[in-house]
Structure formats: structure tokens, C-alpha cells
Amino acid sequence: MDLILLSRIQFAVTVMFHYIFPPLSIGLGLILVLMEGMYLRTGNPLYLQMVKYWLRIFGLTFVLGVASGIVMEFEFGTNWATYSRFVGDVFGSPLAAEGIFAFFIESTFLAILLFGWNKVGPKTHFFSTLMVCLGAHFSAVWIVVAGSWMQTPAGYEIVSTGLRTRAVITDFWAMVFNPSSMVRLSHTLIGAWQAGAFLVISVSAYYLLKKRHTEFAKSSMTIGLFVGIISSVLSLGTGHLSAMKVSQYQPAKLAAMEGHYNENGPGDMHIFGWVDNTNERVVGSIVLPGLLSFLVSGDPAKPLPGLKAFAPEDRPPVQAVFQSFHLMVVIGLGLIALSSLATLLWCRGKLYENRFILQLLLPSFIAPQLANQAGWLTTEIGRQPWIVYGLLRTKDAVSISVPASHVLLSLILFSVIYFGLFILFVYVLMKMIKQGPLAEDLVFRSDAQSE
């Protein structure tokens, strides 16, 4: 029962469960703004029906995001106390800012969103939707800023006083705009838009295939596809920019992403493959020679530092990073292809009758979820063995006053409870989808008394 391993696994379990939900809040938030904006502009009650329907789903994902989110904020202190002591001066500030600016906005205005239909007018309600969307996006800003500082630390210095060595801020804005924060933020937000968009697309495809709520489904599909195609394409661009930063600041991570062992040779890309770490090579792959070097520098022959250039204890786990990176890219490219095809058909007015494409779109909500998780695995496992790149190793960052048995207990409890909550989430979501949009959602004020 290794304390470090258990703490790592617990953080992975808690953050991966959490990460199902905020991207949906961000993506659906954006889509709700678009839908309610259309309602205000056109007065068409169909848009209002869409808002009220998607709001039900939004409320569900939001509460699970909140419930699992508090865990994350506490977990830095409970399980990674040594890390917290080391970086508190630097890392604590964006976290506090996240609470002060983003969480207050989204959680407070959510009240009006969900419950304010009979208390405020349409413009005020739309303003609240906008605020919740903004709050959700703003929370991503601060947490990604903090996480990016862990990857590419800047605006700090290391200070030793007595028994304590820690990082302190020297320049707040340099910390915020550290080398990778903006590219990672854009890539993260766009991944979140995809998560929301493809959920809308999937549900719309479901109704179209079942030939139920067709007007509603067509309208939802249009908006979902609009956000879906744009975000899928932008994802590729921001992904490329992120990888450029990785090549500059975290060469060992880039080398692991593509299984590039060769100490100082041109970097290839593999369409897929299996990493043979003992023999320091990739097997069973289709190689695209020089492509990695080309993407990084424009020159396919440009030598890139390989994993052999790093001491074994300074390398991340290669297989995990390689596979998750490839999974993310394959899904990302697949989503570009799928949404392009769907958009093309939509432009020709042929989408809604094309059962084949609709059947492809039906399960597509899963794709951004998998890609988002795979992307985080790539970047976080790729950051190992560092918890703060180049400054503090993960194994030196755990809470030393916590017995391993306690972490085992909490890990088991989280796993069981989160599994149960996930089942419930899916159950309630399926029920909402089967119920479909309601006739009473076509009016602004809900006057009906209920049981």
C-alpha cells in the first residue's frame, strides 16, 4: 500500500469523474446563450422550448460538477500537502480568484436560470444565462492558469527560510500569462464546447431517428452542429499550438507523446503503435517519418531531443502518454471528419433524412468526453515525474501526515460513490431525454400547479 501511488490514483479518479461535467456546463452554457439569444431576437417559442429543455440537462450536469468540484479544491490540501506548502504562494491565488470571480457568478445567477422564470422578465433571464456561461468559462481560466503554471512555471522565485523551501510570486501577470496558459486555455475551452455541442447533436440525432419532436430536433441539431464543426476545427489548431509549447518547454513530454527515443534525431509520428520501453522503441506501427520534426519546425530532418537524452528517472511513463495522445488525436480528427460531413449534408438540406449519418451522430457525444480525458492524461502523465515541471517531483509532494490506509479507504469510497452517482446521472439524463421537450416549455411563465 504505497501512499504515493494511492494518492495519484485517487487524484486521477476524482479529477476524471469531475471532468465529465464542467465541459458540459461550459459547452451547454454557450449553446444556451445562443438559443436564448435566438428566442429574444425572433420571439419563436421553439427556441424557448429548447432553452427550457437543455436547461434541465444543464442543471443536472452542473450540480454533479459542483459536488465533485469541492473535492478537487480540498484534495490539494488533504493529499498533496507538501505540494501545497511549496506552491501555496503561487498556486493559491488563481484558485482563490476562481472562487471569488467565477464560482460566485455562475452559482448565484444559476438560481434565476433554473427558478426565476416566474420572477423575472426575458431580458433579465437572458442576462443571467449569459452570466452563468461567463462564470463557467471564467472558472476554466483560473484553473487552467494554475495548472499551466505547474507545466511551465514563470513569474516566481524559489526562497528558503528555515526548514521551508517554497516558490513565491515575483510577477503576478507573468505567472498568469506563463508560456503555456493561453494555448492550453483555448484548447481546453474548445474541447468543452465540443463536449456540449456533441451532446446536443447526439440527442437531436436520437429524436430525428425516432421521428419525434422533429422541429425541436432540427433546430437543436443546427445549433449543435454550428458549434460542433467550429470547435472541432479550432481544436486541431489550438492542439497544434499547445504541442508547439510542449516541444519548447517540455521536450521529454513531446518525446513520450510520439515514442521518440532516438537521442537526437528527426522525430517521426506514428498513426498507432505499441511502445516497447525496455528496448526503447515503438513496434507495430505505421510510421510517418519526419512528421513530428516537420510539425515542430517546418523541417522534417530537424533533430529533436529523444527520451534517451533524459535520465530514466526524468522520463514520463511512455506507453500511457503515447496511447492517450494518439487516442485524443484520432478522435479529434474523426470529429472534424464527422462534423464536416454532417455540415455539408445540412447545407444541402439532406442531413435530417440521412439515417446513416444520423446513426453516426447518435453516439458522438462520447467522442469529446473520451478525447478530453485522453488529452488530460497526456498532459498530466506527460508532466511526470514532475508535479511542478523541473522544480518538484510528484513523489516528494504527498501529504506525509496521512497514513496510506486512510487514502485507501477514501479511494474506495470515492470509487464506489462516484460509480453510483454516475449510474444515477445516466439514469436521470436518459429519463429527461426520453421525456423530451414539454408543451409547457413553449411559454415563458410556468403557471401550472404541480403535485
Binding site: S68, F103, S107
Partner: protein, 340 residues
Amino acid sequence: MELDLNTVWFVIVLALLAGYAILDGFDLGVGAWHLFARKDEDRRVLLNSIGPVWDGNQVWLVTGGGALFAAFPEVYATVFSGFYLAFMVVLFALIFRAVSIKFRSKETWPAWRSFWDTAFCISSIVASIIFGVALGNIIRGIPLDDRFEYLGTFFDLLNPFSVLVGITTLALFMMHGALFLVLKTDGDLQQQARNWSRYGIIFFISSYTLTVISAFLFLPHIASRYMENPPALIFPGITFVLAFCVPYIFHRGKSGAAFVASCATILSTLLFFAVSMFPNIVNSSLDPLNSLNIYNSASTKKTLGTMLTIAIIGMPLALAYTVYVYRVFRGKIKLDSISY
């Protein structure tokens, strides 16, 4: 006592925690009373009384935790890791509280509703008690080494004084929650809430009195603080006055003012503890030199300054729209089709 950044941040963190206790205090209090309501419709009213606001109220805890991390990272690290299992229990309680509100009325079958009613109630009670136990331990003092690491066990945290503070916190929130319900309900349910308020008041005043007496009798650092500074006795004094104001005002039929008095009692209770501890935040029972105070646990002045700017911009905004939303949802609860 100079007004430096460290002191300012001690006050801000205290304010955030007080804000949390005043706001989520009534959410948790309502939850604690939940199973005492028998009818399905009454339970729905209870859920809807806090429905729009509980999430925003909980943000005060998240922000307080974040502020503690940013301003006094050594305290954050020591307390959160030292009280590991207790904090895990709190997290699970808060998770269950959140999802039970959302899930409870999604089905009509009695077993489903019963399950989530129980989860809502128990999680609210557990969270309240553990918050109090944590506070009690911080006041009482815990064994810390020279690296500020907690040396005790989970069961060390369940000492009599801290358990008493835990019970007092539950009592306070139940009183507070019941007074809130008197404002939000009418008819028979309101009459029930009035009864709950009476029980809550008695529960709180008796357990609080026990707590203060215990503090003076068994915690030498508290007793000596007030022995050396008799004027400081005004703080516990005010708390008692306010605590007795609550029933006095309540029995004169002014429910709104009683609720305000309850808010003031919460603030005053926390102030009393803060004044008893300042400038220490967490006392080490092993060696006073190992205690965490506002200087040895803090971030740099530069960071405290930057954070202060963030707080000065952000908190008034947050307060403004919080007040706005509370005003939108003022008045008695009427169940309609969008209610839980």
C-alpha cells in the same frame, strides 16, 4: 496591534468563513430538520426554500478554502491533511447534500424519495457536526511538529471539547435554519417551523453555554487570554447577549429580526473564537513554537497584496449579485411546476 496585510487576511478569511456559516448554515439547518417534516409536500417546500440559494451559499466555503490556501498555505496544508478522514467525511456529506437536493423529486416512488430525504438530512447533520469538530480542534490545539505536520490520529480529533463544539455548531445551524423557515413558509408548516425554532434556540443556548464554560475551564490559553485582557471579555459577552436576543425577539413575533439576530450570533461566535486565538491560527499542543500564526504560515506580502486587490474587486461584486438574487426569491415558498 498594527493593521498589516497578514492581519487583514486573517480578517478576510474569517469573514469568508463567517459568510459561509451564516448562509450555508441555514441550508444545513433546514436539511437537519428535513426528516421532521412528515408530508411530501412539506418536504418539497423545505427543499425549495433553499433550492435557488444553497449552491451560491456553498461557494463561500470554496472561496474561503481557496483564500486560506492563498493567504495561509501552511494552515491549509496542515489542517486539511491532518484532519484527513474528517475532511473526507465532510466532502462525502457535501456531495450527498448536493445531489440529494437535485435527485430527490425526480421520481415519485416513495422509496426513492425516502432515500434522498434521509441522505439530505443525515449529510446536513454530519457536515455541521464535523465543521464544529474541526473548529474545536483548531481552538483547543493539536499536536504539530516543527514542520507543522499533524502528529495525532483521527480519534484524537474526537476529544470531548471538539465534539461539544460540533454539537453546538449543529444546534446553531438548526436554530438558524428553523428561523429561516419561519420566514419562508406559512400555514401549518410555519407553525411547525416555529416549534423547531424554539427547540433550536434551547439546544443552541445550552450547548453554547457549556462550550464557553469548557473553554474557560479546560483551555488554559483561552482563559489566560481573557485574564490578561479583561476588556476582551466583551466578545463572549456580546455573543451571549445576541444569543439571548434571538428568543426574546422571536417571542415578540418579529421573525425577520430574530433571523437577523441569529446571523449576528453566528458572526459574534466566530469573532469570539478568532479574538481568543489571534494572532495564532492553529495552536500546537506540543510546543507553542510550532503553532501556526498569521506570520509563519502566510504567503509573501507581495502575494497578500495582489490577493487583496482581487478580493476588493471581486467580493463587493459577489455580494451585490447575491443580495440581488435573494431579493428576487424573497417571500413565501409556493410550489409550482419548476419547483423541486
